[in-house]
Symmetry: C2
Subunit: 109 residues, 2 copies
């Protein structure tokens, strides 16, 4: 066990969950906020600012890149990371769609 049974869920549920999951770590939230404030940054900036090892930051950046929410451009010997605005808004939209499924609830219990 320990294996999430993705087969039994819809693609939509799996996709949505995997987006939430990537944002479900404070280091990745901190990275995104830093990139937003600075407009862009390189990996080493983050190593200095957050107190995590270079290998760890690099790994988190990779996960963020995987869902497309950030983009990295090689610039000499460093890589410039910035927000991929289109994907950013797309994800925000997806989340809002999820939260706006008719909650016609009312206090039923």
């Amino acid at each position: 066990m320990g294996l999430t049974k993705s087969e039994i869920f819809t693609d939509e549920q799996n996709r949505l969950a995997s987006l939430f999951k990537v944002l479900g770590h404070p280091a990745r939230i901190a990275i995104l906020q830093y990139i937003i404030n600075q407009k862009a940054c390189i990996c080493n900036d983050l190593v200095d600012v957050l107190g995590l090892a270079q290998a760890t930051i690099s790994q988190h950046l990779k996960e963020l890149k995987n869902i497309g929410i950030i983009q990295g451009t090689i610039e000499g010997k460093s890589v410039c990371y910035c927000i991929e605005e289109k994907k950013w808004k797309e994800i925000q939209n997806l989340f809002n769609l999820f939260f706006e499924q008719d909650v016609k609830v009312g206090q039923c219990c």
Copy 2:
């Protein structure tokens, strides 16, 4: 290792990440969607509908209850679960605030 270093992040970052994290599993997304569609449900309904064991569903319900996004009311020998609308909207709001931090980005790289 394997221990998230929460001390080095702000409370806001930790709180936000932990909310995302709870939504970062397809079973919990599926549970929320089912509750919304049915307006309410009991644990056994979910066991029947999703293909997971009772112990597993109960565990997921507990995590959802922990962040306050659902509420459980004892009703005879079963427990009626429903969406806690207030918290639901609060979380949606928090997420939107996160996504609306000035993304004045523009393609910088």
